[in-house]
Symmetry: C3
């Protein structure tokens, strides 16, 4: 079954090369200067809305959200440092990483020594421009390659940041795809980084195409997609939706899905959520190199979803984790770092994990005393030799193990049989009224439901 | 202690060579054509009854048992396929595996091409006759070596199966050896296979001699031996005895105990039953190669005893598991496959497991505050140096660990001391009123009682 | 932090060479003939009292304590065996191990063959005098080197043991250092061995200097130090203090802390007490060779504290465990066996374990929904790059994990960050009212509180 989802994706969406489609979306979004508020996010959400009907929320500056306050809105038109000859030695129009995010407006002349404390570079990677912000303290600055920094000569410079930092709103996108059940699967990604590709246009692209695909399918769970400014966006959404968090059964934060590294799944804080099992199952049975990591409280918005007061069953799917590749948070995270093959592989694994979550159930054997007589129901093959690796074995495993304490993924793991076989067996047994929903599934599973 | 049981067996039953005695019983039972019903089972139970007074139950065809119905009774006198010259090219009288079990009566002439779909052989093992049945769908067929199949020439054949499939009854044997306690140890084996030795005349032989030995001993537990047709026999017995299943504290299914492979213990579904611990303890401390496997829901009647609606603490003791030796379910499973040394070794290990279960107890230290003064009771040696590997160490372990949460086997495992030493220490401490039965043993142990 | 405690010790107590100070105390105590009662213990307690104000308890012979009775008091002035020429061939004044502890008075003449059953030597270690007692059975005897035993010639000997065994009392020392909290940390060691150094003058020396140091510090826990005759002393103390045992939160038995072997921590019976975690944490993060052993019910007074009726969270810190070094319980356990460097290392590790226990707490995040905004509180560095290995990471770990189910040591273990950093982060968060005591810490932690 794993791998099959991607073919189904191709056929339903008539997209022959999913990786290429994701890459093209990234190319289009790359030049936009995003931040945690402002028109860059709005433009990004508008482009994403061409694929699926995102609802764009605007939350006014000053709104109290949990322990935080929605900040002022930041927008920027231009920024530069000119030398004595009037040449732009640092130019926002060349690369939007050149300006420290959330820089207040500046118009001044100053010597290099006055300017220098506000210039950020990466001595170890002298050709890359670092990515810096000052979201919650009013400040300003410029980022540049270390090589460019070293070339700056003493003398007077003209400094201009043509930005605004004013009351406005924080924007985020949301899409709900209702399912047969009210229980939700949450897919969240951040949309606040300027010209960086892996972090996180890769996540945005995978999420949007997942949404397009799921919109074309019958769904068991309700799917909720969030496109949020990191941290403050998640905090805001959690504050506004706290009453409904109980609906979230499973969740994935998507980020860093385009580099050439192996896929990494970082578990939810609980460490034994159904999504943890599903992701582990998919990665382990993929045969591909992969890593499964325990939860740690930094990274992306799983930090907020998994804060102890919420403790939602939300994991994080990525390739190389943040901070572990040299291009992290600098201009090296560009269109060359992300690969269409990696994007396609990430999409396929997401699809497989969601497929498992859609099919995983907590069921009980309705004829639990002795084995039911499968032969008279025509389920077992007669006379000819039984194939122990086939459906018969899966039927026996499901009947024996489904007592309301283990979901189908757990039966698959315990039996060593593919989840697809276990699921098929469960469907056959349901048809014959030998298997049914565990009556107290929601209740008895408690936090792990 | 391990090994000692077999010597005690020799002395009490005056059988110098237990393995040889078991083998002789198998030799006598081998020619009989058994099936899940019919006179073959009755004849088998009759021979077994020469050793111990088996109660033979007859359950009428058509009786509803759990999800099943007791089938018609099958008997067979003769079956053959004759070629044009009148020669029996397949002859039931040569080997009872030649006829598909539960074949309906047939008397016909047909071409080879008409006959061929009803002929079963093993191309990979061309000299062995396979074992096939059609218990629950009326059908017929023949089994033969692949070499014989290939020699059949085109032409007309006379086909005869002189069988009856009529209302009658299902037969099974039962023996109860009452103990000081009502709680039971169940020993179950199947008696429905025709001329196959390891599967399961080996199990029958071990079970009968266990019963003979236990009958000659004072017993703590009540022992219940079952000689059942596989699956339907267990289903039938469970249906008829459902009200008393709560008495079963431990159980073992005995099968495949005669081949030269290492001993394998397959755990009960619970995985942490007392019998699982006892068997693991005996095998691990035997020093012999062995395997301990997690429960899986196929194999023998542990499937039924461990179905989720019963979930009895019943494991399965065997040597090479079913399907993992080439002679499985074909004529290669004959008198050469089973070895008297293997039978004797299997018997010895059964005896050791049952000895542990008989002696394992949930006890509590009655003087639990500080160590009791063993010296004034004359239990500790005085002056001379204490031997830490001896009884003193076992006394201290038992006193420290027996708080009602761990049985003696668990104390043995935790201490690394032999179970025999731990048991001896417990007996000494009981005599001095320092150790007693855990008051809520039954209740607090719950399912694992 | 680990290592820092020893420097603080040096400064506060103005002791430049702690190991040398401990060694000197051992030298002074070495010649005294101690036993489980008598003036040797009193003289030892009197010397220890020069360091800290020990309260010396005297419990009369005949007092019923748990399952035991306080024995008669034993004192000895002289003991010898003289040969026909009047030469002392065995002389208590040469070494107090020469007489079997608790020997009753004797004045007799006898042949070598009459005397021989009462002479104990170590044939495998012919130059060492063994250590023997007969505390609970009235008896007498002598110990000598095997070489000396072999030199004894046939003939008549004069035997004298000038001892008294009369009603008196059992003496033990106790010191309580009150803390801000009533909950106690118990430090126990035995003071009943005659001229043996590692067993247990090393433990006495470490304990006394720990007490001196802790007396000079502000303390969270109340510290209780016990200097007990082994077994009967612990039994007596437990009997007299049973009503207050609930105050003991953590405990350590100190013994065998002077030999050159690696440090060994033997867990409490529970195996997962806070002291078990603290000791494991300190040893594992020390970088030094060490061993952590599961509880076993022999050794020293942890046997009594961890008897099932008390089951106190008391572990045992030592270097080479009893019985695993050749000098154990013989005259080889002398001033050469113990090393000042080993004593100093043992002291340092004790200090570190106690420091962790003093700082370990069960806390809860008071702003658990989403991350609190650390930036506006000035806790996070702004603009400049966050150092993920620094305080910020510790802050995030503490906030995420402190939900009342894990103490700070457990957060350190889970995060892989040093305990000191986790503790620092917790202190910062407490100051900002983001972290507080878990309201039901005592109750919810149950036995492990």
């Amino acid at each position: 079954m794993i791998g099959g989802e991607l073919n189904d994706f191709r056929q339903r969406l008539r997209i022959e090369q999913p990786g290429q489609a994701l890459y093209s979306l990234i190319e289009r979004l790359y030049p936009i200067c995003r931040s945690i508020t402002g028109d860059g996010v709005r433009k990004t959400l508008s482009i994403l809305s061409e694929h699926v009907p995102l609802e764009v929320h605007e939350v006014p500056s000053g709104t109290a959200v949990l322990d935080w306050t929605v900040p002022k809105e930041w927008n920027i038109r231009d920024a530069y440092v000119k030398d004595a000859s009037g040449r732009r030695v640092i130019d926002f129009k060349q690369h939007n990483l050149h300006v420290v995010g959330y820089s207040v407006p500046v118009k001044a002349r100053m010597s290099l020594s006055e300017l220098r404390p506000r210039l950020y570079s990466l001595p170890k990677h002298p050709d890359w421009i670092p990515y810096r912000n000052s979201f919650y303290k009013e400040d300003w600055g410029f980022c540049l390659t270390h090589r460019a920094l070293e070339k700056l000569e003493e003398g007077e410079y003209e400094v201009c940041i043509d930005s605004t930092l004013e009351n406005g709103s924080l924007s985020y996108g949301e899409l709900v795809l209702p399912g047969r059940e009210q229980g939700e699967i949450l897919i969240s990604c951040h949309v606040c980084h300027p010209s960086l590709c892996n972090d996180n246009l890769s996540g945005n692209a995978v999420a949007i195409f997942l949404a397009r695909y799921l919109a074309a399918l019958p769904r068991r769970h309700t799917f909720r997609f969030l496109f949020l400014p990191v941290t403050i966006g998640a905090i805001t959404w959690l504050a506004l939706n706290e009453a409904n968090l109980g609906r979230i059964r499973h969740g994935l934060v998507l980020t860093l899905l385009g580099d050439a590294g192996r896929v990494t799944y970082k578990k939810s804080r609980r460490g034994d959520s159904a999504v943890d099992r599903a992701a582990a199952y998919v990665l382990e049975s993929s045969g591909d190199p992969h890593a499964i990591e325990e939860f740690f409280p930094y990274g992306y918005d799983e930090r907020q979803f998994c804060s102890p007061g919420f403790d939602l069953p939300v994991g994080c799917l990525m390739r190389t984790p943040h901070g572990r590749f040299p291009e992290y948070h600098n201009s090296g995270d560009n269109l060359e770092l992300v690969k269409s093959e990696s994007l396609e592989d990430s999409l396929g694994k997401c699809l497989a994990i969601l497929d498992v979550l859609e099919k995983d159930e907590l069921l009980i054997n309705l004829s639990p005393k002795g084995e039911p007589q499968l032969g008279r129901r025509g389920i077992f093959r007669s006379l000819a030799e039984r194939n122990e690796q086939g459906l018969e074995m899966a039927l026996l495993w499901v009947l024996n193990q489904c007592d309301g304490s283990r979901s189908l993924v757990e039966v698959a793991q315990r039996s060593g049989l593919p989840f697809a076989k276990i699921h098929d067996a469960a469907e056959v047994l349901k048809k014959h009224d030998l298997l049914g929903a565990a009556p107290q599934a929601q209740k008895s599973r408690g936090k792990q439901a």
